[in-house]
């Protein structure tokens, strides 16, 4: 670095310059890494999942640290899902494989089954729209954790909400209620679902349960969104009945909800759970305000 004829500059100055240069190089790394990350897209680490035949293939490579690797894959599941949701993506190709590997590595990672059952089953853009995959995941979970009753709750929920198969749902709730530690309402739910599948109160209760003991933020938020939708639906039904009553009594259809307030049918302009006022459309039906954040598609 130095020619043999010139003496070196004072050592301390040189050291400081060197250190400064190092720091600059370090800082220069950041934009390079960023641009690589950006262009590779977010699926970088996860895309290889598609190339793995199964999680069982990965087990021996973990050298006994399957738990750690399961945690790593679980974190990847959450990150992957979060990113897809942020980008308003409609397909979650890797969700199933990632969950499969996670649970292959650690069959007792219960949160993975729970999370997977919800978001695999949910229709896009909220989830992968694969309820059967979700059921398959849950059944593997039940095989590995036969005494854990909540997995049966999740099974029952999928039959109830996504597949609308109330008989199967009831059976699932029944089986679950027989497991140790199962809550009382499981038995009650079995009966209710068999008798009155599709009831609003039933759905509400189930979603509240999910929200209450949600294992993570995404599950909780999802459940709350559903509850809000259910509440709005209920309100809209009640409003519809009130309007019908008004129409029959007044002899002419109401032009706006304000009329009902004036006539004393309502105390004030009704608002949906997100705070936006309901509106009456041209056909005389109650509609959500365009500015409302309630998503009725969830009830599909």
């Amino acid at each position: 670095m130095t020619s043999s004829c010139t003496p070196l500059p004072r050592p301390r100055l040189r050291r400081r310059l060197c250190g400064l240069l190092l720091l600059l190089c370090l800082l220069a790394l950041i934009p390079i890494q960023r641009s690589i990350d950006l262009r590779t897209g977010s699926d970088r680490g996860e895309a290889e999942v598609l190339f793995l035949p199964s999680g069982k293939f990965l087990r021996p490579l973990c050298l006994g640290y399957e738990g750690l690797f399961a945690e790593i894959y679980w974190t990847r599941v959450v990150q992957y899902f979060g990113r897809k949701r942020l980008a308003n993506s409609t397909e979650f190709k890797l969700l199933g494989p990632l969950l499969q590997i996670t649970t292959d590595l650690d069959p007792h990672l219960l949160i993975a089954y729970h999370f997977g059952s919800i978001f695999l089953a949910e229709k896009p853009p909220r989830g992968a729209g694969q309820p059967l995959e979700a059921l398959a995941l849950l059944h593997r979970g039940i095989v590995a954790n036969p005494d854990y009753w909540r997995l049966w709750e999740d099974v029952g929920f999928i039959y109830y909400w996504d597949l609308k198969d109330y008989a199967a749902a009831a059976r699932a709730f029944q089986t679950g209620s027989e497991r140790p530690g199962a809550m009382q309402w499981m038995r009650v739910m079995a009966a209710k679902v068999a008798a009155q599948g599709g009831q609003l109160a039933t759905s509400r209760f189930l979603w509240s349960e999910i929200a209450r003991q949600a294992g993570n933020e995404q599950i909780r938020k999802n459940a709350e969104d559903h509850l809000i939708a259910l509440e709005a639906a209920e309100q809209m039904t009640k409003l519809g009945e009130l309007i019908a009553l008004y129409n029959s009594r007044q002899g002419r259809p109401a032009r706006s909800l304000q009329a009902l307030v004036v006539a004393g049918y309502l105390r004030a302009l009704p608002r949906d759970p997100s705070g936006a006022p309901y509106i009456l459309d041209a056909g005389g039906r109650v509609r959500l305000n365009p500015r409302s954040s309630v998503d009725l598609n969830l009830l599909q």
Binding site: M1, T2, S4, L8, P11, R15, C18, G19, L21, L22, C25, L26, A28, L29, I30, I32, Q33, S35, I36, R39, T40, R44, G45, A47, E48, F51, I72, T75, R76, V78, Q79
Partner: protein, 257 residues
């Protein structure tokens, strides 16, 4: 010029080490075995050969890099051959640079040999080599970049610590460097601002070896994205410069009692 002299000398010294031949032989053996594995399951012969072959090159390259890297400086200090060299008109930075370049040359030769073996296996399997097979050179180039960084890490530790500890630290850094995105994800999931910042800093500080891993892509006949060529080369260059800088700074303060 002196740097080149030291580099060539280091290269010659490394090449004479027996462990090198053992490791290369093992790698070639594994590549050969990959052909066998492939023939067991139908349809994936090529994929298995490529995956196993390139992974062998990577893993054995890593072992070679660590083995010869840790001895780099510490052996000279331990055997006191360094007294001689440093009393000649050779500055300490020149010494470090020469050592590194010599080692890099060794790695290049070894990787080339293993890659040649890999192409040989490919030829044996398909009885032909096409233009599309050039993509594996790209994978090998990225593996080489990775190894260049690993050797730099080994060099830094070699200036600070004993050979055994250097090997351990280098290996640990390599493993961690492969999981840096997950580390960062852990930090972000913790929902703790401090932890999140720390994990972000670590993400940019630690070597991100994941950038260089294109084995899966080429195994499934996908092209290596264009931006990776420039991005990875720049990243590796900068990181190596940083490592050499640290090594020089540390080494300049070192006293030889």
């Amino acid at each position: 010029m002196r740097v080149a002299t030291i580099a060539v000398h280091t290269f010659k010294e490394s090449v004479r080490q027996k462990v090198l031949y053992n490791l290369v032989a093992f790698a070639l053996l594994l590549i050969g075995a990959a052909i066998l594995f492939g023939s067991i399951s139908v349809g994936v012969e090529r994929i298995i050969l490529i995956t196993l072959g390139l992974t062998s090159i990577s893993v054995f390259g890593l072992l070679i890099a660590i083995f010869i890297g840790i001895d780099l400086v510490s052996k000279e200090i331990e055997r006191r051959t360094i007294y001689n060299i440093l009393s000649k008109p050779v500055s300490r930075p020149e010494f470090i640079l020469g050592k590194y370049l010599g080692l890099l040359l060794t790695l290049l030769v070894n990787t080339a040999v293993m890659t040649a073996g890999f192409y040989g296996a490919l030829f044996y399997q398909k009885h032909a080599l096409g233009l599309g097979d050039l993509v594996f050179l790209g994978a090998a180039y990225f593996i080489l970049l990775q190894l260049a960084i690993v050797v730099g890490i080994a060099l830094v530790f070699s200036c600070i610590s004993t050979p055994v500890l250097s090997a351990v630290y280098t290996f640990c850094l390599y493993v961690i460097g492969n999981f840096t995105p997950d580390l960062r994800a852990f930090g972000q999931e913790a929902h703790n601002a401090l932890l999140g910042t720390v994990s972000d800093i670590l993400y940019y500080l630690l070597p991100n070896f994941g950038n260089f891993n294109v084995i899966n892509q080429v195994a499934h006949a996908q092209k290596i994205p264009g931006y990776l060529w420039l991005g990875n080369s720049l990243y590796a260059l900068l990181y190596i410069a940083i490592l050499l800088g640290i090594a020089v700074l540390v080494f300049e303060e070192r006293e030889f009692r």
